[in-house]
Point group: C2
Chain length 324, copies 2
């Protein structure tokens, strides 16, 4: 059956709280610079109390990717879990206002909507500390199988793998997509996350994943190597297509026994790296959904990532169709 959706994303539904800090803040509060760390409610309270004034903006890796896809003109939907609180209302509003389908009912009980405390340092690097709240309880019941079956591509966030019930939800979504003859995609999300799930993910990628997204440190972590070229060779035999991002060095697409190297889009001034990988995936998936060749997919990824890192926050500020 013809797909009525281009992409459905499954992920942690999160509102970002973004502050600009100096480098000492990262050291003083013992943060994992450039990575995503899960924190509990107490740590979230104490870290927030220590942070400078912030701004709140809807986030969540896969949700950012879907917002980018909608901005590019693709038909995108999202599956994730929020509470019926003020941050949940913000998350739902922003995703729908971006043009992403999101028909999930906010939960009337349970933990609050997830938030990610993000520190942006002067080098534009982001350090993320996530209190998962209710998003950690995404379960197989929250996966609308008809939505998944109707999407040409199902895009899953590696971050979800940290929770057993969410892992089940992802496995279920991937199975539905595969049964419907759709493309299954996974992003590795974070090098520490890869480290926590290496063995399972190596199996998962070999068996179930058609299209893999990873940045340099994630793909190197997957194969426990410092050698990107080696990691790129290893992944070639596992996923049909792998899109590997290398920050300012652009990206490498590994597919059909070949490597396609695509430079990054030029950016005048990098302000905040938050969302760079998410929006690269938007551009790439938009290309793929529209029949572009892989080099063009990677180029579109670079353009969308370039827009996101030029400002604070992980959702597009301009209509991305104007940039392509």
């Amino acid at each position: 059956m013809e797909a009525s959706l281009d992409v459905v994303g499954v992920g942690n539904a999160i509102v970002d709280v973004i502050s600009t800090v100096d480098d000492e803040f990262i050291v003083e509060h013992d943060l994992n610079r450039g990575s995503m760390t899960l924190i509990d409610a107490d740590r979230a309270t104490s870290l927030y109390a220590a942070m400078p004034p912030g701004i709140e903006a809807s986030g969540g890796s896969a949700a950012n990717t879907m917002a980018g896809l909608a901005s590019l003109g693709s038909k995108a939907s999202y599956l994730g879990k929020v509470r019926d609180d003020q941050l949940g209302e913000v998350f739902i509003h922003d995703l729908r206002a971006a043009g992403v389908g999101f028909d999930v009912q906010a939960s009337s009980e349970g933990a609050p909507t997830a938030r990610c405390l993000i520190q942006v340092t002067p080098d534009a690097e982001r350090t993320m500390n996530t209190f998962l709240g209710i998003s950690a309880f995404l379960s197989p019941d929250d996966i609308d199988e008809s939505v998944v079956a109707s999407a040409a591509i199902t895009y899953c966030e590696g971050y979800l793998w940290d929770m057993d019930i969410a892992k089940e939800a992802i496995r279920g979504a991937m199975a539905v997509a595969a049964d419907a003859g759709r493309t299954v995609s996974l992003t590795l999300s974070d090098a520490f996350c890869v480290d926590r799930h290496r063995a399972e993910w190596l199996d998962l990628i070999s068996d179930k994943v058609d299209l893999l997204f990873a940045n340099e440190s994630e793909i190197c972590s997957l194969f426990e190597t410092d050698d990107f070229d080696l990691a790129a060779k290893e992944i070639a035999s596992m996923a049909k297509i792998s899109a590997l991002t290398r920050s300012a060095a652009g990206s490498v697409v590994v597919a059909n026994g070949e490597q396609i190297v695509v430079p990054a889009a030029p950016v005048d001034h990098v302000v905040d790296a938050t969302g760079a990988g998410d929006l690269y995936a938007s551009g790439f998936l938009h290309g793929l959904a529209n029949g572009a060749d892989l080099a063009r997919c990677a180029e579109l990824g670079g353009i969308a990532a370039g827009e996101i890192i030029s400002h604070i926050g992980a959702r597009p500020r301009v209509d991305l169709t104007d940039l392509i």
Copy 2:
């Protein structure tokens, strides 16, 4: 007794929800371009649903002014009312993290924390729609008289005048300040607001106000004239000092039978006018609290306003001491 605080601000404690819209949005939704309009909960829900994705940032006119004062190195405190909800938590965090004293307990019952739906148009003008929520219930009980008595200047927001109980709170705060021999300051806040309270405010300014802030349209509205020079003459006999802002044309200080004209600080690119008047007041009050002459006060106001309009949001993004 020596004042232990430079300034205490009294105002509506509000979280801003800021979206960028095109000009048609303003027309289509029948908004009062460039002004502040009070809206009820239903209208807030329907207008928010129509708005593009936004960012949330702490706001509130007098709170912005206090944040600016703290950033300049002054000792500032704030009195206002929030609920113990997520937006209230954001408001409290951001104000304290900015270095402003705010010891008010969040209310465990009543309406939610106030929010202001702000539409920024391509000309950088902001159109504000405020759902006052619990902030409308600021009462004389919420005014900590010892804080007011300890501040060299008490700065009150005209916006508060729309609610009878808040009006009482302001009159009470002004009386405490006057009894302690302190300076009483008022900002007119909005031309429509002036229109609603003209007669009362003419009396109030003559009787109780030492230092008045107003922009061109507000001071013209006060005297029901289109002639700024005429309005500036009228106000001369009413408040000891009046600081009148004229956007790109800078500001005029009226005091001691004289007018001091001060040009605006140069700004490369005006992004969002939200907070310009609030931060002008920060700079001016900082100068006054530190014994600067009135021309320097106005210049400091222009510098602080210039920083705020160069980015989205109404709180400083940089340490303002670096700019002066």
